[in-house]
Symmetry: C2
Subunit: 286 residues, 2 copies
């Protein structure tokens, strides 16, 4: 998916968010915003949003080399999600359609990330999930039957993870689809935003239930042009690829193979592109 | 309220929105965004958000002198809201607490504007209002008792309008509070975003139920420094001032008199400032 002009305000917002996570000085925040604005003036918007975010990240990296602005946020998300893990497992075990419940919980993880970014009450969202009053959003594009059918025939699955914390909710789905199949989970190569890396995957025990690899990418989406050879080989050969989150969707809509995308629609540009509405959940094969 | 760095992405978003309303050419949209980004680099953020939006408006005005990007949107909002008017009146007439219902409907108008700006389904929102399943949001800051008490003692009320379309919902409240009182309604002096002007007020029949004046301001908020002498005299002398929408809140939080603010919380900056959460409705006296 190409980068739209609508993405520019978001790039600036991300720069400000990271500035605030790194330092309390408003003058520095302003300088970072100005640097980002200058970069916007120079850029051609010729690539996908995750590639653009990677480029814009230069503003943060120049000023704070080696820093990971989301480290504390990610650790907290992982810990809180791991506390929920036993209850999430229980929900799947007691469900009439355990696969559907696992898919819904994987989306729930994406919703919580959304809540965190939009100042909504994360604990309230979690309580809603645990008490069953949780609503995942409208399912305007939700190809669950196709998903179940392809899954029945798949022996190897590549699962593209999204964010820290959320990855615990992914673990529920990975364990469900991993019965009798090989699942390989791909994470980002280096910290970028609050995306899950190998460290997060290990903390959340994903390495105990499946093979975890780095995609080789440090953009907030699996941009194939940056991927490692190891990843590309698996990407090509896997019977099924499940891609989680908007960033991976933005990076992979033109990919040369079938992929199941699973995400919460968090921005109007993606809504238009996916034929859905803001707030909807999408399970879509491209 | 001062302008925060968080407002900058919104200023750019508003510029893009207007560019798209005015012309289909993406190259022009990009040029407008670049102009706006350059203006951001130069500006000191020393004034309130409505003043900043007025300044940023120079980018649109230079390129499209005399144009009103929101003209069609406003006309459509006015017409659709006027169609609803009889049903809204009926709702108030059949309510156990007609003042509360009128206040809630005034907020409903603000919600519909929000829905329109965020790609939500406006007709769905309207249906929800008419069938009674409408939820105005959490009332964390909702000083209704104080509002009713002050209203009982007031003889003259200045009502600061917000958007086109929404002003029909305001009319419901103005008619309710206008029984036995003089209500003066203030609108923007010239078109700015989708804010209500004299033309909108007349189309929606506000001039038939109350005196309508221009505030003298063409910013998207009642910035006192720009107001006409006529307005300021009324602002000073009115027993009660009711201010609708976020823009008027941003402009008037430091005003030298008591004001009742009535709005839906649409951005995290305002949420923090008002001690509320995103999506809440606020009725607050400052």
């Amino acid at each position: 998916m190409k980068t739209y002009l609508d993405c520019i305000p978001c790039f600036l917002r991300l720069t400000l968010e990271q500035g605030r996570l790194l330092v309390g000085d408003e003058i520095v925040h302003r300088e970072l915003m100005n640097e980002a604005a200058k970069l916007v003036l120079r850029t051609s918007l010729g690539s996908t949003p995750p590639e653009m975010v990677k480029e814009m990240q230069a503003v943060i990296r120049r000023r704070f080399p080696g820093c990971d602005p989301y480290k504390i946020v990610k650790d907290k998300s992982n810990r809180r999600a791991m506390e929920l893990y036993p209850m999430l497992k229980e929900k799947v075990a007691s469900s009439g359609d355990s696969l559907l419940t696992a898919v819904e919980l994987a989306i729930a993880g994406n919703v919580i990330d959304y809540a965190a970014k939009n100042n909504l009450n994360v604990e309230q969202e979690i309580q809603a999930i645990l008490t069953g009053s949780f609503s995942v959003g409208q399912k305007t594009v939700f190809e669950y039957d196709l998903f179940r059918k392809d899954l029945a025939e798949a022996r190897t699955i590549l699962y593209l993870a999204d964010n820290a914390g959320e990855i615990v909710f992914d673990r529920i789905l990975i364990e469900e689809i991993g019965i009798g199949r090989e699942v390989i989970v791909a994470v980002r190569d280096k910290p970028i935003l609050n995306d899950a890396t190998m460290e997060d995957a290990v903390f959340c025990g994903i390495d105990k239930i499946s093979r975890v690899i780095s995609s080789g990418v440090d953009a907030p989406g699996t941009v194939l042009a940056y991927c490692s050879e190891e990843f590309l080989k698996i990407f090509k050969r896997a019977d099924m690829v499940i891609s989680k989150g908007q960033g991976n969707y933005e990076a992979l809509t033109e990919a040369p193979r079938g992929i199941f995308f699973l995400f919460k629609v968090k921005c109007p540009v993606i809504a238009r592109h996916a034929g859905a509405q803001l707030g909807d959940i999408v399970l879509k094969r491209i």
